[in-house]
């Protein structure tokens, strides 16, 4: 192993070691496990940065740690692909993780599961790193599941709360739906290409029939829809806010939920050869961007607002990868990871200061009491609204400009409207929480968070206001584009640029949308020029729709959960009570109620067992006649 491969494998090694150490010896380490865990991730971050410069100044490489499964023609190794795409992700993942770990030391103080928390958090970081660097589909799938599993554990971390463990379960079940598609897609991919290695697959894609490519791409996208919480599988993410806030910042804003976007960027060859699949990605992304922003307009739970905003922003990323602007999508992924992580951390800080209060209606006037939190939150909010010079402006605008210039006007228009709504809801939150008159209980002692929490927030805020400059000069001349575009050269250019609207026109429209959104929020909640209640009553049905999250949960409940319950209730009655638990009640009941009295257990049971067996034999023999 030379220097760069050693570094490559050391990056995941530290979190893995951390997981084992705090998991096994956490109770001896007490509070130190937090500091040690942060240090471990920090080392990973430094190594990632080194790797970043190695790759930036030379070129990417792949390396196999050891052969994993070698059977017949199937050869899969535990191997990594290190190129510009993965190092960018690595730096982002380890960087945000380090900050979140440090923040968590303060946030999770006094929690009885302190070591357990850091152990799982490290496991998550390990899985995420492996997901990013994996060089074959199987490894990708393994860690795709693993990050999901960690997220599930961490959502249900405060299992004593029923809502928390329910949310964990919900996340798990909803993700199963997507992962089922993902697994099917992988099998289909393996079936057609007979290989699992990225490079070999991508080399084969141009020769594959378009239909096959489309089906595979759509199945893989189903996995992305689940993991990245896109419509219609977005329902788990808002509920996932039951977990500790740093977890939301790390997993449900910055890293895991973006795995879907990363996966499509990684499989850009596959997706670019199927315009249909890409179109579906675009449609789902656009719709989700609008839809989630719409729901966020009327929510009162600050974490949920931010969660819906995550769903909406992920929609923008999918828009970008859906039109083949992979660099724009990745740029938004990175900048979003930072400003959304920041928003979650600050939201956590608000929660911390208010002893766990999340309801906007019970806040107000926090600005004077927690200045650092407020200022950093506003920075995050401005970035989210796309106000220059904050990062969101550059990245979101890169996407919307591409969408417009590639001729998807409707998607562009929807994106702009969603941008307006975004600016409105986030500033509604800011105004209500920080500036409106205080509705906080008098008894509550509001306090600023400790330094260990505010410093990561400040770092994130600085990053959120500067990282965007990677996006100049605009469009295809930007630093970021030039750096990353190298990796996407194999993609087929299925959506050529048809317009050349100057960037400043599009940007000014976006900025105007953002500013209008902010201004409306200002009018409503600070100036009180218009009474929000009045508007609420004016658009009652729309308001209700938004407030009730478009009734998606209820629809699922009605369409899936209820029938399942009925079905299983039926099964329970028929199969369990009458057949399976016949040991207690007499199996005879399976074929008619009137012999339930017959408690001749053995006889009844055995008869029907033998009967099933004989039916089986008769059926098997019957096969000979129908073959």
């Amino acid at each position: 192993m030379d220097f760069k491969t050693t570094i490559t494998w050391l990056i995941p090694l530290f979190p893995l070691a951390g997981w084992l150490l705090w998991g096994l010896f956490g109770r001896y380490l007490k509070g130190f496990s937090g500091y040690l865990a942060s240090a471990f991730i920090g080392i990973s971050f430094i190594l990632s940065v080194i790797l970043f410069f190695i790759v930036a100044y030379s070129h990417g490489f792949t390396d196999t740690l050891y052969p994993w499964v070698h059977a017949g023609t199937l050869k899969v190794g535990v191997s990594a692909v290190i190129d510009r795409l993965s190092v960018i992700m690595l730096v982002m993942v380890t960087g945000v993780s380090t900050l979140v770990h440090i923040y968590s030391i303060g946030y999770m103080q006094d929690d009885k599961g302190f070591s357990r928390y850091f152990s799982f958090l490290n496991l998550f970081v390990f899985s995420m790193i492996m997901l990013v660097i994996s060089n074959n589909v199987l490894l990708l799938y393994v860690f795709w599941e693993a990050v999901g599993f960690c997220s599930y554990i961490l959502i249900g971390f405060w299992y004593e709360k029923k809502s928390a463990s329910d949310a964990g379960k919900k996340a798990f079940i909803v993700n199963r739906v997507g992962d089922f598609g993902f697994a099917t897609g992988i099998f289909l991919l393996f079936m057609t290409t007979k290989t699992l290695n990225y490079e070999k697959i991508f080399a084969m894609v141009p020769t594959m029939p378009t239909l096959t490519v489309t089906v595979i791409a759509l199945l893989l996208f189903a996995g992305a829809v689940g993991k990245s919480a896109q419509f219609p599988l977005h329902v788990w993410l808002p509920d996932a806010m039951e977990g500790p806030t740093p977890v939301s910042a790390l997993i449900h804003a910055a890293t895991m939920v973006t795995a879907g976007v990363y996966m499509i960027a990684r499989f850009h060859v596959l997706f670019s050869y199927s315009p249909t699949a890409s179109e579906v990605v675009l449609i789902v992304g656009t719709f989700t961007a609008f839809f989630a922003a719409f729901i966020a307009l009327t929510q009162y739970d600050i974490k949920r607002i931010v969660a819906y905003s995550t769903v909406s922003q992920l929609g923008y990323m999918f828009m970008a990868v859906g039109i083949g602007s992979y660099t724009a999508g990745m740029f938004h992924l990175i900048s979003h990871a930072i400003f959304k992580g920041l928003l979650f951390l600050t939201a956590g800080s608000v929660m911390h200061g208010l002893s766990g209060e999340l309801d906007l209606r019970k806040m107000g006037g926090l600005y004077s009491k927690m200045k650092t939190t407020a200022i950093t939150f506003i920075v995050g909010g401005l970035a989210l609204s796309g106000i220059p010079p904050f990062s969101g402006f550059f990245s979101k605008d890169a996407i919307l400009a591409d969408v417009y210039n590639k001729g998807y006007y409707f998607a562009w228009a929807v994106g702009e409207v969603a941008a307006l709504m975004t600016a409105f809801y986030i500033f509604r939150l800011i105004f209500l929480a920080f500036f409106a008159e205080s509705k906080i209980d008098k008894g509550l002692h509001v306090h600023e968070s400790p330094k260990i929490m505010t410093i990561p927030m400040i770092i994130m805020a600085v990053l959120a206001s500067t990282i965007g400059f990677l996006g100049i000069p605009p469009l295809n001349h930007s630093v970021f584009y030039k750096f990353l575009h190298v990796d996407f050269q194999n993609a087929k250019n299925f959506a050529p640029i048809v317009n050349s609207m100057p960037w400043y026109v599009l940007s000014s429209i976006s900025v105007a949308a953002g500013l209008i959104g902010i201004y409306i929020a200002y009018l409503l909640y600070i100036k009180k020029a218009i009474d929000p209640e009045k508007i609420k009553n004016m658009f009652k049905p729309v308001y209700e729709l938004s407030y009730n999250k478009v009734y998606i949960d209820e629809i699922y409940d009605f369409l899936i959960v209820k029938p399942m319950l009925v079905f299983f209730g039926f099964l329970w009655k028929v199969v369990d009570i009458k057949i399976i638990d016949g040991a207690v009640n007499g199996i005879a009941g399976a074929f008619g109620n009137f012999s339930v009295k017959a408690r001749k257990i053995q006889n009844g049971m055995l008869m029907s067992y033998i009967l099933t067996l004989s039916i089986g034999v008769a059926a098997v023999l019957f096969y000979y006649f129908i073959r």
Partner: protein
Amino acid sequence: MHNIMPAIYGLNSLEKSMLSIIPEAVVILFAFIVLFLTFFEKIAKSKNSYYLSLIGIAFSILYVVMLSGRNLTGFYGSVVFNGYDVFLFIAILLSGFLTVLVSKDYIENFDLPYPEFYSIILFGISAMMFLVASNNLIMVFISLEFMSICSYILTGYIRGNARSTEAALKYLILGTFASAFLIFGSVFIYAAVGHLNLNSIHTYLENISYGNNGSASILSGMGEYLSIGLLLFMVGLAFKMSLFPFHAWTPDAYDGAPTPITSFMATGIKIAAFAVFLRIYVLIYNINVINFNDILWVLAVLSMTFGNIAAILSANVKRLLAYSSIAQAGYILIGIIGGGFYGYSGTLFYLFTYIFMTAGAFAVVIIFENSDIASLDIKNLSGIAYKYPFISAAMALFMLSLAGIPVTGGFMGKFYVFSAAVKSGYYWLVFIALLNSAFAAYYYIKIIVKMYMPVKEDSNVSCIAGEGKNYGIVNGNISEGIILAVIICLFFTLIMGVYPQIFINFANYSAASLASL
């Protein structure tokens, strides 16, 4: 007459014959030694029988390893010993080893007479090994019966316990019923081809199928006899493999039997049945008499679906594992259906991982049984993770492995057999299997959730997080043996997920000697 027999059967050296059954013979020898311990009351009451059984199994493993690489045929072709047997002997012996390890606590807890217990386990192990090694239909039948008799006795071993006795009786009657089909089938096969030796049947059929004009036809008449024979024979084996319509004994026997024996049945018997079926499948079923894969396809789908649905509905851990073992049998069958070298090796690999995850899960169940929880109902496991952190973590891993979540052996096994089936073009089967395993994850996870996330409303939460004072690994009346068993299972379950290559090579070696027969 004196000159007629050698002319027919040829000469087989006694040495070679004896060599080919040494691993089984060692186990039987130790079974007798353990049994004789009962004559001496003082010795019988000590732990000698436990250690002797372990030593016996260890010796047998040693002999298997020493003999590996040889290709032996013994007793006029009744038994064979080759790479295939090496793999499966080790699998069976490991399963037996784990069973003995976990038995000690249970026996003491339920106050069962123990030298006999270990002795019958050893007899059972030898029967399984004979079953795997057997190369003619009579040997298959006799060793299958031998194995069954041992398991009947062990199932009803808790005397005075109605459930146990009832389970044994049901198992006995149903088992005999199934055996009748097996022997009926053998008779038809013999009537069709006039041979009992598997290799001879194989050669005979090959000559007919692809003989003179290369057309895959069967003489009229013979085809009927052969297909009915093979179908009935398959029923007999499917009973032991607990595939769907022939599964009826599984839940009751698994539930009623002493838990170590449940573990033994779930691992040992299943492996032996699958192994012998795989051997016969490769030798006979694979030849185009009729397309058996269609039937196996249906059986696999039904087993998976039924097992998973019933497991979701069951409230008791032991019963849940019983149903899950039916579903697992369906998954294993997919490897056989997938076929080819790849499929066989995948099946063997899956069987190997299956031992450890199942035996591990049952070992944990035994620990729970010996602890202070009221019953094995899933709701009673609430919050148990904070009382037995190590054991619960192990259980969680076994459950994840059974569910086929990555980084565990179960995932690799599933991936292996599914991809084999995909390779052979069974897309729908794999699709259904994927759907099933997605569905099945729910009830495995349910146990983990219960252990780790107690909900306050549960009436009998064993303990609440943070209050668990017992943080030690060994707790109360848990012996080192059972902990060792859990650790072995953990180790293998993990290593087979993270670094499966050695096991894959082993399975490949085994499958290669099977396919080259």
